[in-house]
């Protein structure tokens, strides 16, 4: 039909009028029209099957009875799984734990990252090595590092209690970090902070280096010292990246799984402590799905968590914008 249009007439006019063979023409046409789709197809097929479809299908599973131990019990459950959620004490407990740990880990994490980025944002010797150094926690497997922290926070032989005893706390009755909500949350938040501070510091540092230098020169005339420089100039100028890191930590923090799992005395139980004092939602989903074998209910929980993440990420983004934008 339109084969003649595709022939690159302009470029070939100088050459002897040798019409490309039918096969060649077909090949070029195929290359222009079809190959681009073939290049993006692997991504869309694989992502569709193993990424997108499960998330949508999760919605179907959430509305059904779906148990691993009783395959005969099927059929629609309607919103049964969701209404069960509302009165499920384990869920509300896990929600509280998740938020508690989230706040204890996000706020210090981002402030420390700012301060470290500010330290790195100097003319330094061996610039790159400092930056590589702060990335070590980011690379270390959480499963491995949490096991070290579990020893660090252990009741009888832990370094944390040893430090406390040096300043006069708990010499006779050492603190059992896993036992109470507040202490287990602090221990877990410490692990999260350790892992992510350096990574966020690098994000802030890269934003800091795009700030025009004359902004600082103007401020220096007004007599702003380094500390005021950081809070009055640098932070407002890198606000978009701050919002970005707040959203990232919200998405990651509310799905926290590895740290509370491995901090448990018996990780495979997924109970989050003897009284679920540090069981997070992601952990509860795992327990409901693969210990209680109730996949339908676990799917409903996943959707609830998804909604919560959306709302909290939106609110946090707005809050961060307000805080940075009032100057």
């Amino acid at each position: 039909m339109s084969l003649t249009q595709l022939r690159p007439a302009a470029h070939h006019r100088a050459e002897p009028p040798k019409t490309p063979s039918k096969a060649k023409q077909w090949l070029y046409r195929f290359d222009i029209k079809t190959v681009p789709y073939a290049l993006i197809a692997p991504f869309f097929i694989l992502f569709g099957v193993f990424g997108l479809f499960p998330i949508i299908f999760n919605g179907v599973v959430a509305l059904r009875n779906w148990r691993l131990d009783d395959p005969t019990l099927t059929g629609w459950a309607g919103f049964g799984n969701f209404t069960k959620l509302l009165s499920d004490e384990d869920f509300w407990n896990a929600l509280g734990n998740t938020f508690g740990i989230f706040i204890l880990s996000t706020v210090p994490q981002l402030i420390a990252a700012l301060i470290i980025a500010n330290l790195l944002n100097r003319k330094l010797r061996a610039t790159t090595w400092w930056r590589i150094g702060v990335l070590l926690p980011y690379l270390t497997p959480v499963v491995a590092s949490t096991l070290v922290f579990a020893v660090f926070f252990s009741r009888d032989y832990g370094l944390a209690n040893w430090f406390l005893s040096l300043v006069g706390f708990g010499q006779d009755d050492p603190l059992d970090w896993r036992a109470a909500k507040w202490s287990s949350w602090i221990a877990i938040a410490t692990m999260v902070n350790w892992k992510w501070i350096g990574y966020n510091a690098l994000l802030y540092l890269s934003a800091m280096q795009t700030i025009p230098k004359d902004v600082y020169e103007a401020a220096a005339v007004d007599g702003a010292g380094p500390w005021r420089q950081l809070w009055r100039i640098t932070v407002p100028m890198i606000q978009p990246v701050v919002v970005f890191t707040v959203i990232l930590s919200t998405i990651g923090g509310l799905q926290l799984f590895n740290e509370p799992m491995m901090f448990d005395e018996n990780p495979q139980s997924a109970s989050g402590g003897s009284d679920h004092q540090f069981q997070t939602i992601a952990q509860l989903i795992y327990k409901v799905g693969w210990k209680d074998l109730n996949l339908g209910y676990a799917a409903a929980m996943s959707w609830a968590l998804f909604l919560i993440i959306l709302i909290v990420a939106g609110v946090n983004a707005l809050l961060t914008k307000r805080i940075g934008g009032d100057r």
Partner: protein, 286 residues
């Protein structure tokens, strides 16, 4: 006042003072301490671990502890390291290949629906796919892949972030004229990809490869769900096995943890520069 001396310069032109360096050294110590402590316990005896105050220098029991870890029944530690290498390497190579192909198409080829499809890629970036694990488990069940490495590898073969990152990089690193002139010479799309695009994007491949390998190696939740209790755990699943049970032997657990961390420390030493650059570039673009 000392503050005034530097205030006329932007921070990045201000030389670090002794305070800056003291702060940085402190941060390095905090950063490295847990990994160092892992090594100390991995090399110690039970007595050294339970001593108060704890000994902060490594012992000489590393080989003894490692031997125990590797010969433990039901943990499959040796196999788990091999499994982790297989999964992480396959995932990394596939991600680099598929994402650079798609990134090239989005950056340099013209086809109907290009912009709309790119929007789809960007939207999928924001979806936390951890939330689909329940349904993913059912899908893998239908395929009868649960409990095999295939179940871990398949969802990792592509990533929306990889496509996005490659598209951004190729758009800048490969000049349109170069692609045009190769086409006029009669080169087909795949030849352009192979001869022009691939050589130009080596730095981006290094960055994406490192990030992908680290993520695949450290992945825990999904491998735990699909591989737990089988004879084919990844090293993270094997570690959680090692740490479970009524009586946990710290020196043994941390010897295992240290072994599973060493490959990443080596990666950091070899590719740290690229990783730092990749993370910092990613921040500016997003």
């Amino acid at each position: 006042m000392s503050t005034h001396r530097f205030a006329l310069r932007a921070p990045q032109d201000t030389p670090g003072t002794w305070k800056t360096y003291t702060g940085l050294v402190l941060i390095m110590l905090l950063s490295a301490f847990p990994v160092y402590w892992m090594f100390v316990i991995a090399t110690s005896t039970d007595e050294a671990v339970t001593k108060m105050p704890p000994s902060i220098i490594p012992g000489n029991q590393l080989m003894v502890n490692l031997n125990e870890v590797f010969t433990l029944q039901d943990v499959y530690f040796t196999a788990s390291l091999i499994n982790s290498f297989i999964t992480a390497t396959t995932i990394t190579l596939a991600t680099l290949f598929f994402c650079s192909l798609a990134g090239f198409a989005f950056a340099k080829l013209r086809f109907r629906g290009r912009n709309a499809l790119m929007v789809v890629v960007i939207l999928t970036l924001t979806v936390p796919n951890q939330l689909g694990v329940v349904a993913l488990y059912i899908v893998m069940g239908k395929l009868q892949w649960n409990g095999t490495l295939l179940a871990v590898i398949a969802p990792g073969l592509v990533s929306a972030f990889g496509v996005f990152y490659m598209r951004q990089f190729i758009a800048h690193a490969v000049p349109d004229e170069l692609v045009e002139s190769a086409r006029i010479d009669g080169a087909l799309t795949l030849r352009v990809y192979w001869n022009i695009v691939l050589p130009a994007i080596r730095p981006a491949l290094a960055v994406l490869g490192l990030l992908t390998f680290v993520m695949a190696w450290n992945d825990f939740q999904w491998p735990l769900i699909t591989l737990n209790g089988t004879e084919f755990p990844t090293s993270m699943v094997a570690l959680s096995d090692l740490a479970s049970g009524n009586y946990v032997i710290y020196r043994r657990v941390l010897a295992g943890a240290f072994v599973a961390t060493v490959p990443l420390i080596i990666l950091l030493l070899i590719g740290g520069r690229q990783l730092v650059r990749g993370i910092m570039e990613g921040a500016v673009k997003s």
